[in-house]
């Protein structure tokens, strides 16, 4: 009798299975865009062989903000307060800047209640991946408009929205964010590619992912629905991602316009598009977003990339050892030091 082989499991670079990146079972509605984004995060973390114990997951409050419980169980997670996750994330990454921070928020969480904190986070360039799972409504409180809802949109429950939407990407751009992207939960390949690049960024990387709420905002005439997204998505940029651990040749491959060396040594290789759009051009990015905002077009892809701005942790002159792990002698000056201070009083 042949010996039973143990089932074949694919291990990644650090010897983990995809299962090691899973979370607890989701309690979201079946078909919710947020669940599909969780799956993308799992895949990307597995592909890049992130070490789960060196990742932290941060979120506010909302259906979207629940999702960190549904991926990467071996990473510490903190599901904090509604709209105030950015400050918490700032503190956590100051305490330990060696960790990879993945934040998940909702549109209500980020641009309704959280707009101030979001903008100040971007301004400080806190090194982290900031995902907005944008469905244009408050899912968890059952379907009110959020500040990203399109003008003129109608919802059975909330009536008609008369206010202009706040554009997550434009806000980030105006706030000097060095990595701004938009994607669609119905476009898994693009989401994964953007996640990979974003995880290598030096400061705050913002990805605004349209993520349909199947329960409250998925009718076909909603700009945040699967149907609308599939029909209207226009990709504005394309790029290849070469992780730090892979070798890269310095020549541009055909169709590439530029190579952006990311903070962690990986590379984003921008490809030439018919539109000529270059995501390194800040004015172009702002104009594009402004036009999209005005014309309500659904543009996805990498909108802006710039590795120049130092992160908060760099500006703070932090030591290599994370503050949270400093040994006692770095924490408490000596008895003599106290005596000297007192003598000088």
């Amino acid at each position: 009798m042949a010996i039973q082989e143990p089932p074949q499991v694919d291990l990644n670079r650090i010897g983990l299975t995809k299962g090691d990146y899973r979370g607890r079972p989701s309690t979201l509605c079946k078909g919710c865009g947020h669940d599909s984004i969780s799956q993308r995060i799992i895949s990307v973390a597995y592909d890049l062989a992130l070490k789960p114990t060196q990742v932290i997951k941060l979120s506010g409050i909302g259906c979207s903000s629940k999702t960190p419980a549904y991926f990467m169980n071996q990473s510490h997670g903190f599901n904090g307060l509604h709209g105030r996750m950015p400050s918490m994330a700032t503190g956590a990454t100051l305490a330990n800047h060696s960790l990879t921070a993945i934040a998940v928020s909702g549109d209500g969480d980020t641009v309704s209640i959280g707009l101030g904190q979001f903008k100040h986070l971007v301004r400080r360039n806190v090194p982290m991946l900031y995902i907005v799972e944008n469905n244009g409504v408050y899912g968890l409180t059952k379907g009110q408009f959020s500040a990203t809802a399109d003008k003129g949109q109608e919802l059975k429950y909330a009536g008609r929205n008369e206010l202009p939407p706040i554009d997550v990407c434009l806000e980030a751009l105006v706030g000097d964010c060095g990595f701004v992207a938009r994607s669609f939960a119905g476009d898994p390949r693009q989401v994964e590619q953007l996640l990979k690049a974003a995880l290598s960024h030096r400061g705050t990387a913002v990805i605004d992912i349209i993520s349909p709420c199947v329960t409250f905002n998925d009718h076909d005439d909603s700009t945040k629905s699967y149907a609308y997204g599939k029909a209207h998505e226009e990709v504005i940029s394309d790029f290849g991602f070469v992780p730090a651990y892979e070798e890269i040749n310095i020549d541009y491959a055909e169709g590439e316009i530029a190579d952006v060396r990311m903070h962690d040594g990986s590379h984003v290789r921008l490809k030439k598009l018919d539109s000529g759009y270059d995501p390194r051009d800040r004015f172009a990015a702002m104009r594009l977003m402004q036009e999209a905002h005005q014309n309500q077009t659904f543009l996805t892809g990498l909108i802006y990339i710039n590795e120049d701005r130092p992160s908060l942790q760099e500006m703070e002159h932090l030591p290599e050892t994370p503050l949270a792990q400093l040994p006692m002698e770095k924490l408490r000056p000596s008895r003599e030091a106290l005596a000297k201070v007192l003598a000088d009083l």
């Binding site: 789960p52 510490h76 904090g80 105030r84 503190g91 330990n96 101030g116 904190q117 703070e316």
Partner: protein, 613 residues
């Protein structure tokens, strides 16, 4: 039932501080933004260095320049440091308030006033010394912009001459103030000397107030509570401070920035072994602190009333997710914006119960510089041990005024980082560890820090319902079990927070309870009360929740006066719920007009209330 021998017969003067050599108060009335702080600090320092117990208190307005400000200097041979109701010597340098200021000087007092104002010297019970202040300023050679600054030095000179302050100490104090920089030292000293010469030449001293050297300040130093707190935090190993400017807490962080730069930067690499971030508001400040505390930093913030209000939601989160955080509340007068530059102990109730739902916060109550320093480091030990926010309720009087203090004691205990599991411990425990369990019966679970290299390390933190494994739950029994454990933790906290200081007098039948900056007034009042036969025992609270000593003390006395600087008698209310069997014997003695309590208020208040018994 009282042992008081007819307090109603004690003359009110008997409750007041003695007045004479080395015993009096000075009030310098100036305009803020005129640089009078240099003059005032010089005086305080010189007197202090003469070995005479001296304190300085600044009563300043909430604006930048041009409004009335008063500086109180008290010298007390007995070593009392509380504010007195009366100031025998008025330095009247503010034209806008001079009439009112003079009206307040007690009979027998002294008024120093610019000659140029030609103030009518119509109170015959006062001694007036008029000085050509403006002339001195002009003659000093300082440019026009600096002249008001220089003018203040005139009164330094005048007081030096009139009180007999050692000129060498004035010079030393100026040198200290200007960090040894010759130009300003000389400029100012020139004015001081000219004023001294003027006094000697033109004025005959007729008042009884003067100073003489003592040895009562040997080994002591002068400092303000915010600097002491900052120094304590630096020695407590703070690693993250996030803050938002607000009077009167700003100077705490200013001092922290300075001390940390000196003491916590690696000399060789220049890296900072800490981060101090000015946030966009107080919500964000505490958010950063909580995030940092969660990730393993010793993190802190400093704020005042309005900031505390904004921190309510994050406090609830930190309380319920059990994350260490240190919050200094430098109390100012509320409600609302209130009087930003006036003191009160008005946040006690709101901080103790801060947060919706069932919450009770741990509060430390420093009363002096040594405790500001000590709680500066100890607050972290308690926060990490208890895994909870720890509030330090200091106030404007402690925080921003200059106090003499014994040298600070180097921390007596090594850093207590609390129950943090290592990868090795996790390898043993595996899935059995309980983030929100109660392994030790103290109500405190074990936590792990992000980055701990173990597949068992991670747990999920949330402000919503969780069971002992930190898993989401809506089960009533798990919810209740968690609250019961938090309750046990609160009971345990009673046993490890700083214990009260008790000073009992033989045969006393009445007790006094106070805390924080009300302490000096009580200390002096007790001495005065004893003079008129009112014996009192005293318990000074150093923390909430209270421990068994407090309960015993309250039960022991016929009546216990709770002395505090607020309107509602906030601490009394808390104590009434803690010791309900004596709730009716806890008597409110509270006052709140923006000034530090005086011993007269306390002594007279107790005498009056005792009469009613």
């Amino acid at each position: 039932m009282s042992t008081i021998t007819r307090p109603d017969l004690a003359p009110p003067e008997a409750l007041e501080s003695p007045v004479g050599v080395n015993n009096f108060s000075i009030v310098a009335a100036t305009v803020n933004g005129s640089g009078s702080q240099t003059a005032n600090n010089t005086l305080v320092r010189a007197l202090f260095k003469m070995g005479i117990p001296t304190t300085g208190k600044n009563l300043f307005p909430s604006n930048i320049a041009g409004l009335p400000t008063w500086f109180l200097i008290r010298v007390s041979s007995e070593g009392y440091i509380t504010r007195r109701e009366k100031s025998e010597i008025l330095v009247a340098m503010n034209r806008a308030t001079v009439t009112e200021d003079i009206a307040k000087v007690p009979a027998g007092g002294v008024v120093i006033v610019p000659l140029e104002w030609k103030i009518p010297q119509d109170r015959t019970d006062l001694t007036y010394y008029a000085l050509p202040v403006q002339q001195f300023a002009k003659e000093s050679g300082a440019n026009a912009k600096l002249q008001p600054y220089v003018a203040n030095m005139v009164y330094v000179g005048a007081l030096t001459a009139l009180l007999g302050i050692d000129e060498a100490e004035i010079e030393a104090a100026l040198s200290y103030h200007f960090g040894g920089k010759r130009r300003p030292i000389e400029l100012n000293l020139g004015v001081v000397k000219a004023a001294i010469a003027y006094i000697r030449a033109n004025i005959t001293k007729t008042d009884p107030f003067r100073v003489q050297r003592m040895q009562a300040t040997t080994n002591k130093v002068l400092i303000d509570g915010n600097s002491a707190a900052a120094l304590g935090a630096v020695f407590g190993g703070f690693t993250v401070c996030a803050w938002y400017p607000i009077t009167p807490s700003t100077s705490l962080v200013d001092a922290l920035i300075d001390y940390a730069k000196d003491l916590r930067v690696d000399a060789d690499t220049g890296v900072h072994n800490y981060a101090i971030v000015q946030s966009e508001d107080e919500i964000a400040a505490l958010g950063m602190v909580v995030g940092a505390g969660w990730a393993g930093a010793r993190s802190m913030t400093a704020t005042s009333g309005p900031g505390i209000s904004l921190m309510t939601e994050y406090t609830g989160l930190a309380y319920f997710t059990e994350i260490p955080a240190v919050i200094w509340d430098i109390m100012r007068m509320g409600p609302s914006t209130g009087l930003p530059t006036r003191v009160s102990q008005g946040d006690v109730l709101s901080v103790y119960y801060l947060g919706h739902g069932d919450t009770r916060q741990v509060c430390l109550l420093p009363a002096n510089m040594a405790e500001c320093f000590e709680f500066g480091w100890k607050a972290f030990d308690l926060a990490e041990r208890l895994q909870t926010p720890v509030f330090v309720l200091s106030d404007l009087d402690l925080g921003m005024n200059t106090w003499m203090t014994d040298q600070f004691e180097y921390p007596t205990q090594p850093l207590d980082r609390g129950k943090v599991l290592t990868a090795e411990q996790l390898a043993e425990l595996k899935n059995t560890w309980e983030r929100y369990g109660d392994q030790d019966g103290d109500g405190i679970g074990q936590r792990t820090l992000p980055g701990t290299d173990s597949p068992y390390a991670a747990y999920f933190t949330r402000g919503s319902g969780h069971n002992k494994y930190a898993l989401y739950t809506e089960r009533g029994d798990e919810w209740e079990a968690n609250l019961a454990r938090l309750h046990r933790k609160h009971e345990y906290a009673r046993t490890i927070v700083p214990a009260p200081v008790v000073d009992e007098m033989a045969d006393a039948r009445i007790g006094i309870i106070a805390y924080g900056s009300s302490d000096p007034a009580v200390q002096e009042a007790r001495a005065r009360l004893a003079n008129v036969g009112v014996k009192t025992s005293y318990l000074r609270l150093k923390a909430l929740p209270v421990n068994a000593t407090v309960v015993d003390f309250i039960r022991k006395y016929d009546r216990v006066y709770v002395v505090e600087n607020n309107y509602d008698g906030q601490m009394r209310k808390i104590l009434q719920t803690e010791v309900p069997d004596r709730a009716n014997q806890l008597i409110q003695l509270a006052h709140c007009d923006g000034l530090p309590l005086s011993s007269e208020f306390v002594a007279q208040g107790i005498v009056n209330l005792e009469k009613e018994q």
